[in-house]
Amino acid sequence: MKIHRYIYNLTYCLLIVILMTSCKHDKEHEYHSVTDKIEAESKNYKGIKTSSETFIDGMNLFEVTENEITFLIPTRKDKIKSYKCTECHTQPLAKMQTNDIKKAHWNIKINHADANTMNCVTCHNSDNMNDLKSITGHSIDLNKSYKLCSQCHQKQYKDWTGGAHGKRIESWANPRASMTCVNCHNPHSPGFDTKWPARFNTQKVKERK
């Protein structure tokens, strides 16, 4: 009887030992979830070799710090055909608006909020055509036009600084270069039209018949 009990105990112990050693704690299943993995492995993040520099080299970008996040955005002034504006706007707007002179900017139609909210001078400064102006009358550099947009579109502005709104330029790596508002949106008509999709799969139609 005692021998039986002894053998029983021994097998029991052996079983426990086997159970404890057989549970693989390999690298594959080290973490409970991918979120845990990201959290744990990014604690000792020291930066990587891959860089965006080769891709954004030669682009006209400049650094901005918004919402305590620093990144690069493209310049604007060098992409506007007839900047500086003062090359035509030699005198204040009121003096230029006569019936004799042919109307300029005839092609611009404002389709941005309604007439109660916005017109040309909500953003443009009739006294200093080279700069933009905030609602309270402060001057805003044309390169930093996002400051103008963020006055109303706070939510989009915040998402943009973090990278949830808008697009990265070329590379996912650092240093971060992101497009600014006017690279996608026409400031005078910021919405998008509907359009046809880029492709239609004729094979799928056949397969699903």
């Binding site: 990014s42 965006s52 999709p197």
Partner: protein, 376 residues
């Protein structure tokens, strides 16, 4: 033995039926065998030679080449010996033939084909072998088409884990991403293969994939609909990798789930195992017009595939490992697609995960996809 009456072909290596003294190597039970050893003593030299040949390959004389090679009873060791020997002879013959009749180029071609035929699994290669393989493929392409391609074997970088976020409120269903993906990844134009699918879903019905349309053709965005893209989610716990019987697919250190097209046997287990329909199969030989081939390639990415192998989105490994955004991210005109390094605490993808309400598809399966959806 009953094998005799089989109408189908049986690979009879290392047969379980041990030969008894009464039956002979040809597998026939009565009288059919050309000769038997006991006669030997009474024979002259010539007759002995004849009998010996008969004894060894007697029945093979009446069989065609295929049967001769395979329908022979032998143990595994001698089977492999014979197989290797005949292959070597074949190769030798090929090499000697080409050396006489054709140029050194075709000799090189044969050499490349030979080495390609017997290369190992990419997953198990060291860096030297990887670059040798890639060089061979580049040279092979050059010999065949006279054109140069650029193929990379760049490994995963440490401290990189790729992740993706998709903004459902931004996607307008333009499908520019699909086009860019097809062009970037040299996908078959005949079967119109596409890794990405954009599902047009009705507002207020939730994510109802059964009622969604992924092949619409009308002006978009359509009234009362939203759009949701799916592709390979590069799961951290990928079921497709688990089921592969030959380990032709695996998860790289930077999180990309990749396929070695030359190791894949085309069983499509992975296709069945993927809960997201992320994998595609080449039912026919993939064809891309020569002028449309993207010549910037990676071994695990967009290099040319063959018939009967699996392929899938690799987050454009040829681009992403170089530091570029995948083609779909670059092509998207709405900025709905965000890509980056999950281990970099200051990356944009991390900002999205930490500041937006994100979710993943079929999270309850435990596949841990590294592809998050979010809304504005």
């Amino acid at each position: 033995m009953s094998d005799n009456k089989k109408k189908w072909f049986t690979l009879n290596l290392n047969s379980k039926h041990k030969q008894t003294s009464s039956s002979c190597g040809c597998g026939k039970t009565s009288g059919g065998c050309n000769s038997h050893q006991p006669k030997k003593e009474e024979l002259s030299n010539d007759a002995f030679f004849e009998a010996a040949v008969d004894a060894s390959i007697g029945d093979e004389r009446h069989k065609d080449g295929f049967d001769q090679v395979f329908d022979v009873k032998m143990d595994r060791r001698s089977a492999f010996k014979k197989l290797t020997a005949s292959l070597l002879i074949g190769a030798g013959a090929a090499a000697s033939c080409t050396s006489v009749t054709s140029s050194s180029e075709s000799k090189e071609k044969a050499q490349i084909d030979w080495e390609e035929q017997f290369k190992g699994n990419y997953k198990l290669m060291d860096d030297k072998e990887k670059s040798a393989t890639v060089d061979r493929l580049v040279r092979s392409y050059q010999l065949r088409t006279g054109k140069n391609i650029n193929m990379s074997s760049k490994n995963a970088e440490e401290d990189v884990l790729f992740g993706y976020a998709f903004n459902i409120s931004k996607c307008q269903g333009y499908m520019d991403c699909v086009s860019a993906c097809v062009e970037e990844n040299n996908q078959d134009r005949n079967s119109e293969m596409q890794y990405i699918r954009i599902h047009e879903m009705k507002d207020g019905k939730g994510f109802n994939f059964n009622e969604a349309d992924d092949n619409y053709y009308h002006e978009v965005p359509a009234e009362g609909h939203f759009y949701m893209g799916t592709q390979c989610f590069h799961c951290d716990n990928p079921p497709c990798v688990e089921v592969c019987p030959v380990q032709a697919t695996w998860r790289e250190e930077d999180g990309l789930v990749v396929v070695d097209y030359d190791w894949c046997v085309g069983c499509r287990y992975c296709m069945a195992a993927c809960p997201y329909d992320g994998r595609r199969f080449n039912w026919s030989k993939p064809e891309v017009p020569e002028e449309e081939i993207n010549k910037n390639q990676h071994y695990l990415g967009n290099r040319m595939r063959k018939k009967g192998v699996m392929e899938k989105c690799t987050f454009c490994v040829q681009r992403s490992r170089a530091g570029k955004n995948p083609a779909c991210v670059e092509a998207c005109p709405t900025g709905a697609r965000i890509f980056g390094n999950l281990l970099d605490p200051n990356s944009t993808i991390r900002w999205v995960l930490e500041n937006k309400k994100v979710f993943r598809l079929k999270e309850d399966l435990g596949t841990e996809p590294k592809f998050w959806y979010f809304m504005d």
